[in-house]
């Protein structure tokens, strides 16, 4: 009787909540318009553009060398890989063969970038589910990678190290030694990550069975990177369309089939082990030679269209350049992994609790400047 009275007196009602754009858990200026019924999410509507800088339009009046430095302002945690994507597109268009040394160094830098990005993600992931200590562990190890970057590239975040035709400067004499030191250190620390978070019961309860994405939906929503692979969708660009030195290394594509937050977590942890293995295969065999080939001061791509995919830490980045044969591109499109991955957020969180939203978002690993461009 009493329950019936309560149900009659309290009608559930839908209402709106604004999450962001100034919210610590959206990892940037992302605004989500939430439709809530009690604690249950009815709709998640992302409102984008708070950090839109019109990079594609700017590219249309820049030379091909100038475009490169704009790209590390997109996904700033995959700066090297973004730079490389543009350089590869330009080099393919010019039919320019870069030295073997460049290819190997580029791949090592890519994997270091992936490690540094995943370290940050792991720290933030723990913080988002209430385990603050992981944040300090993640940043401690990421710091060592940033030091390596600083020594060779002169910058810690927006490296701008790749140029069309090779690398801006050769690696620092300490580079090989420090990378090996880091790998030795990190291999003892990665099991620590597992002990702290992976096996934690509270963490597992927050992530297992939450935010489930099926393989068909992953493909339809254009998911890529760890988000797609956690749903059993083999989408690693490094496997399917290898570039630079990836054709000579052996690694396993991290695949899980559960499609929930926990699977996305496990994929990234496994990817860190694979990245370590890729760097170890290459670090002792960096070929001697030049670190760049000469290009014309003014690069003009032949009339036509060029497309290049690369695998960033977040997924598939596509660079699409339309050239009319002048020194500026006619149209540049960056297919960012973040935008497609964000578009499925509504699909996987609807029907769940609002408390799980932040944890689910953390496993998608959003970088807002990459989405807004």
């Amino acid at each position: 009787m009493r329950t019936a009275t309560i149900n009659n007196n309290f009608k559930s009602e839908e209402y709106f909540i604004n999450m962001g754009p100034q919210h610590p858990a959206t990892h940037g200026v992302l605004r989500l318009l939430l439709t809530i019924d009690g604690e249950v999410i009815k709709k998640v509507d992302p409102d984008l553009g708070y950090i839109h800088r019109s990079i594609e339009k700017m590219c249309e009046s820049d030379s091909y060398q100038q475009i490169v430095h704009l790209t590390d302002r997109m996904d700033y945690l995959s700066a090297h890989i973004n730079n490389e994507a543009v350089c590869l597109t330009v080099e393919n268009a010019l039919e320019l063969e870069v030295p073997e040394r460049v290819k190997v160094i580029r791949t090592i830098m890519d994997e270091l970038t992936r490690l540094s990005s995943h370290c940050l993600w792991w720290g933030v992931m723990g913080m988002d589910v209430g385990a603050l200590s992981s944040y300090f562990y993640g940043f401690r190890d990421r710091e060592m990678i940033n030091d390596i970057f600083e020594e060779t590239c002169g910058a810690r975040l927006t490296m701008n190290y790749n140029i069309p035709g090779g690398l801006r400067q050769d690696i620092h004499p300490n580079f090989v030694k420090r990378v090996k030191e880091f790998l030795a250190h990190f291999k003892t620390k990665l099991p620590e990550y597992d002990r702290l978070l992976t096996g934690n019961v509270i963490f597992q309860k927050r992530t297992k069975g939450v935010g489930v994405l099926s393989k068909e939906d992953a493909i339809s929503f254009g998911a890529s990177g760890p988000v797609g692979r956690a749903s059993g969708y083999s989408c690693d660009v490094r496997k399917h369309h290898p570039y630079s030195a990836l054709d000579r290394v052996e690694f396993e594509e991290a695949l899980h089939t559960d499609g929930d937050s926990y699977a996305r977590y496990l994929v990234r942890i496994q990817e860190m082990w694979e990245s370590i293995s890729i760097i170890e295969q290459l670090i002792d065999n960096i070929p001697e030679g030049d670190h760049q080939v000469a290009t014309n001061a003014v690069i003009k791509l032949p009339k036509g269209e060029y497309y290049q995919k690369v695998e960033t830490a977040r997924g598939e980045l596509g660079v699409y350049i339309v050239s009319t044969g002048t020194k500026n591109p006619y149209r540049v499109k960056f297919r960012s992994p973040g935008l497609s991955n964000l578009s499925l957020l509504n699909h996987i969180t609807v029907g769940g609790k609002i408390g799980d939203l932040v944890a689910t978002m953390a496993t998608i690993d959003i970088v807002v400047p990459d989405i807004d461009r």
């Binding site: 553009g49 339809s220 699909h347």
Partner: protein
């Protein structure tokens, strides 16, 4: 399938390819390019997805381009089974009122990417569930990635 086989298969779907402005080219691109009249785009896209031999289930890039007279929408498609890639393109001649069918019912990812093309080029996607600006604010005037867009305050012309 090779580009040649794809071309023969897709051309066979149409009784009169010239009536729908169906054209194939590999010139100036690393992929097979298929251009089609905007009115017949949705139908062809549907068959590209469901046909077992083509099975293009992954739309990985959707781009708007302004060619001066016409606007163009470019779709990059890949099959996750067969791993072949094609590019479908469709030119819209009416600049003042550009319209084309939405493909969001075939690939969910088109939802956001079409909103981006609408935001930057003003291309209206028919049957789109939520066609509003994606990045720019609602009261923004004009379509900034069009070549004839002028903004003396915000743009630096080099």
């Amino acid at each position: 399938m090779t580009n040649q086989e794809l071309q023969e298969l897709i051309a066979g779907w149409f009784t009169d390819p010239s009536a729908v402005k169906l054209e194939f080219t590999e010139e100036g691109s690393q992929f097979l390019n298929i251009s089609i009249h905007p009115d017949y785009l949705h139908e062809m896209m549907y068959y590209l997805k469901i046909n077992r031999n083509t099975n293009f289930d992954y739309l990985f890039c959707l781009t708007g381009i302004d060619w001066g007279k016409e606007l163009e929408v470019v779709y990059h498609l890949e099959s996750t089974d067969h791993r072949h890639i094609i590019v479908v393109r469709s030119k819209i001649e009416d600049r003042d009122n550009p319209e084309i069918d939405s493909v969001h019912d075939i690939w969910e990812t088109a939802n956001f990417h079409e909103r981006e093309a609408f935001d930057f080029y003003g291309i209206r996607f028919r049957n789109h569930p939520n066609l509003k600006r994606l990045f720019l604010s609602e009261d923004f005037e004009g379509y900034p990635l069009r070549k004839d867009y002028v903004d003396e305050k915000l743009m630096v012309v080099k």
